[in-house]
């Protein structure tokens, strides 16, 4: 007489909390998720194909547009990947400035994550607080390279310019108050009962599954692994920096929240060290006017805010363009874990899981 049937519902591609154009096809039994299929590609622009037809410098411009909330990290990955392909040695001062900007960028990325994730769960206020601080860092980027979001901050072989006068003061002013700001976010969330109820035990992913699914970054470290490329395969100036890799063992949304907050504090520490220990010297390596590659292939990975960001280059002899360029996008691989996290749970947890994975669709689709 009565029959029940599963409801198929499309979360996205136009939805307030899919952070872009992610479409998740959900089969719901009531509000319980029976099956979850992420469908991507709505933002596919063929960055890899485009970069095959751009020179090594021009391609960097496209990396800004993959993970557009962490463009400096992308620039660093590209620049260091190309440097590895050519065997370029970068001056130490350039390494320090790059590290500083990348860590500031990590803070902006995590702030954006914090704001939107809290907003998804219903806490509106943190969103605006986080954006307040993010604005300051974006102003720092603007002072450094003239752009706030699509920075193209670095050059192959170092930096185009040294840091402008006054930038150090600006960064120090931000550094002076940022720790208090983190305290402010924590006041609103960390011990909030509803926040804990919504996040503890939600979107669980243990270390074993995370490693099997290729998940990296804060999501992996919240499950107990200490894999951080900055420590394991140090690049830029990270070998000379003193910082901790925050980990948690629970592997749930709350653990990821704690890990990312602590990462912001560690980034704050690294920025301070970069400012204090900034060496003198040139910021650009001596290079020929036109970079022509030899036959070589490299894979260079950095620890982007979302996880392992890898650039794979194949160079041909005498080529001014990469013969093949591939981006190992952390968001793309991390998104694979979504079905594992949410199947059998409630609709509201899907939102929390998408938020806690911290995916940027520009990077997923490339």
């Amino acid at each position: 007489m009565f029959k029940t049937e599963e409801m198929e519902i499309n979360l996205g591609p136009q939805h307030p909390s899919t952070h872009g154009v992610l479409r998740v096809k959900l089969h719901l039994d009531g509000e319980t998720v029976v099956r979850c299929v992420p469908m991507i590609g709505y933002l596919h622009r063929g960055v890899e194909k485009i970069c095959e037809n751009k020179t090594f410098f021009q391609g960097q411009v496209w990396t800004d547009r993959t993970d557009y909330v962490a463009s400096v990290s992308n620039n660093l990955g590209w620049a260091e990947g190309v440097e590895k392909l050519f065997g370029i040695t970068v001056p130490r001062r350039a390494h320090y400035i790059r590290t500083m900007l990348t860590e500031l960028n990590r803070i902006t990325s995590h702030l954006l994550w914090l704001g939107t994730h809290a907003l998804d769960i219903g806490a509106m206020t943190v969103f605006l607080y986080a954006f307040r601080e993010r604005e300051e860092i974006l102003s720092i980027f603007e002072a450094f390279c003239g752009a706030r979001l699509t920075t193209t901050a670095f050059r192959i072989g170092g930096l185009r310019e040294d840091i402008p006068p006054g930038l150090e003061k600006q960064v120090r002013a931000f550094q002076a108050r940022f720790l208090d700001c983190i305290e402010e976010y924590e006041t609103l969330l960390t011990e909030n009962r509803i926040w804990k109820k919504r996040t503890i035990g939600v979107a669980l992913l243990n270390a074993e599954d995370a490693i099997a699914l290729g998940v990296t970054g804060p999501v992996l470290r919240a499950a107990g692994s200490t894999y951080d490329i900055r420590k394991v395969f140090p690049y830029a100036a990270y070998a000379e920096m003193d910082f901790d890799v925050p980990t948690q063992t629970a592997g749930d949304t709350y653990a990821r929240y704690l890990v990312r907050l602590e990462e912001m504090r560690q980034a704050h520490r690294i920025v301070n060290q970069c400012l204090d220990g900034l060496p003198e010297g040139p910021v650009m390596a001596k290079l020929p006017k036109v970079l022509k590659s030899e036959v070589n292939e490299v894979y260079h990975a950095i620890e982007a805010p979302k996880g392992e960001l890898g650039y794979y280059f194949v160079g041909e002899k005498g080529g001014v363009n990469p013969y093949r360029m591939h981006i190992r996008a952390p968001s793309f691989i991390n998104l694979q874990a979504l079905p594992k996290m949410v199947e059998g749970r409630l609709l509201a947890d899907v939102i929390a899981a998408i938020g806690t994975l911290d995916v940027v669709l520009g990077e997923v689709d490339r």
Binding site: N296, Y299, R324
Partner: protein, 546 residues
């Protein structure tokens, strides 16, 4: 022969090639390349593009060879020069005066035998001059009165041009088809001897062309056979007038007859489809790679060996040349020439050193080579990375060893991607697997070479993270993975045609709209085309029969 003027057009990529060939004249700066002040009459140093100052008289002939070589070496061909036959150079087959060169529309490449080396610069110049003289730059709907022009010389392959017996008789010299053909068959109906409409575009038939090829003739603009040009002039002009999108262009020698566009009715013309089909869009900008940049220790070592051998051979030849020259000089009683100096490799002043591949020394690579007896093609290290190339049969075994072996423990497959090598023999793709060992802090790259159409075994069973990456490879390259749970496209739509990251996939053309939407936002151009076709009785809206 001498070169009077040298200048550099726009587009220099500061590649230093010219300076290497001819350091007396060219000086490559940060932004551009200059003609040195020392070599110029006015003594200024610049690109010499606008002023085109002359070279110093004493250098005009002495540097000729090196300037020609520099111009030939320029990869973007921006070095141009004026070459004249000097008065004291007898025996030149080239017409003596420059105006004569301009009057002759013949490309220098097909000039009569015996002419000295002609550079493309001269070629381009002459063509421009011819176009200017004939008033036929591209859009040649207007007839071209050029009775005084010399008869067109033809390519060397054809029999000698019949001297225009009746020079007053007009004829079509060239016909070509611009971008934007809608394959409507109108031209073939008007002039079936010249045009041939295919599925995707319209061709000029080989029978009437001088070079005998069949193509749109757009790029080469090859001439028509003179007798055909005379005979078919009316029908070609009719076809050009009748083209609904005005893409048929031609050049006329003499007075073109006045003809009216012939009205067509639908029955006469096999009405072509007017479907915005990406395949119908001309396939632009595909540059297929000619090399196979597959990094490999074997290749590198062979190349090094060959380079050393070539260097030795060159040195030996230099020495031998010197010996003969010395013997000759001695025999003639002149001073002995200077002995050659062996070139020392240029010192690397940059902070850049190419990371050369080296033999595998890492215990992991050695261990894997032992384990996978005979299935490893090569193992080497480059840029601090470990690379293991295995046969496709041994792939799964390799991955299982990498993950399961107690001394390897590569737990995570971080990345998997492919590269297309269309120029390679024996394989078409390389597929690479980037592995990391989180516990041992090591990275390893496993590489397999795949033939076109060959399937690989899926790694999902071993590394679940391969799921989406293999789907992406399938989507982008068309390599299928057997045993994959869901071998479908991931980034492109399901009905997408082609695999975008293959080298033959164009960056323009496919998938691009036929009509530039910036200019035709309201569909005006399309409506005009439809209207014009409709007036002629052609129904362009006939849907494509599938």
């Amino acid at each position: 022969m001498a070169i009077t003027k040298v200048w550099i057009e726009e587009g220099c990529i500061v590649c230093n090639a010219c300076e290497a060939e001819c350091p007396d004249v060219f000086h490559v700066t940060e932004e551009s390349c200059h003609i040195k002040g020392d070599s110029r009459k006015d003594g200024r140093e610049s690109e010499n593009r606008d002023e085109k100052a002359e070279l110093k008289a004493d250098l005009q002939s002495s540097l000729e060879a090196s300037i020609v070589a520099a111009a030939a070496a320029c990869p973007v061909e921006v070095i141009k020069y004026d070459q004249v036959a000097s008065a004291d150079a007898p025996g030149s087959a080239e017409p003596a005066a420059a105006p004569a060169v301009i009057a002759s529309p013949a490309p220098v490449a097909v000039a009569p035998e015996g002419a000295p080396t002609a550079a493309p610069a001269v070629d381009a110049d002459i063509e421009n001059a011819v176009d200017a003289a004939l008033g036929t730059t591209g859009n040649t709907a207007a007839p071209v009165p050029a009775p005084s022009a010399a008869p067109r010389p033809v390519a060397a392959a054809t029999p000698p041009d019949p001297p225009a017996a009746n020079p007053a008789k007009p004829r079509v010299t060239k016909v070509w088809i611009e971008d934007g053909c809608i394959v409507c068959n109108a031209c073939e109906a008007d002039s079936p001897e010249v045009f041939h409409v295919t599925e995707t575009t319209c061709m000029i038939k080989p029978g009437v062309r001088l070079d005998g090829k069949e193509s749109e003739n757009r790029v080469e603009k090859n001439g028509l056979k003179p007798e055909d040009g005379e005979r078919l002039i009316t029908s070609i002009i009719t076809a050009s007038k009748g083209c609904p999108v005005d893409v048929i262009k031609y050049e006329v020698l003499g007075d073109a007859p006045v003809v009216e566009a012939k009205p067509h009715d639908a029955a006469e013309v096999a009405a072509g489809p007017f479907v915005l089909d990406y395949k119908a869009a001309p396939n632009r900008q595909v540059v297929m790679p000619k090399t196979v940049p597959l990094p490999s220790l074997h290749t590198y070592q062979e190349e090094q060996k060959a380079a050393v051998a070539a260097d030795g051979a060159k040195w030996a030849k230099q020495q031998a040349d010197f010996e003969t020259a010395k013997a000759k000089a001695l025999a003639e009683g002149k001073d002995a020439p200077k002995p050659p100096v062996r070139a020392v490799p240029k010192k690397n002043e940059n902070d850049m050193e190419f990371p050369a591949p080296s033999e595998a020394k890492d215990p992991d690579l050695l261990h894997l080579t032992d384990l996978l007896d005979g299935k490893v093609s090569q193992a080497f290290e480059q840029s601090g990375e470990l690379i293991l190339q295995v046969h496709p049969d041994g792939l799964i075994e390799t991955l299982m060893f990498c993950k399961g072996d107690a001394s390897l423990r590569y737990e995570m497959l971080v990345d998997q991607t492919a590269t297309h090598y269309p120029a390679a023999e024996g394989f078409a793709f390389s597929v690479v697997y980037q592995l990391i060992s989180i516990s041992r802090h090591k990275r390893l790259r496993v590489r397999v070479l795949v033939k076109e159409g060959q399937d690989l075994e899926s790694a999902v069973e071993i590394y679940p993270s391969a799921n989406w990456m293999e789907r992406e490879i399938y989507d982008m390259f068309g390599i299928r993975f057997t045993g994959h749970p869901d071998m479908t496209r991931i980034l492109c739509p399901e009905d997408w045609e082609g695999h975008p990251l293959r080298k033959e996939y164009p960056t323009l053309g496919w998938g691009q709209r036929d009509i530039d939407f910036r200019e035709d936002r309201s569909g005006v151009l399309m409506r005009m085309a439809l209207e014009k076709a409709g007036n002629m009785g052609i129904n362009l809206k006939v849907p494509k029969a599938d």
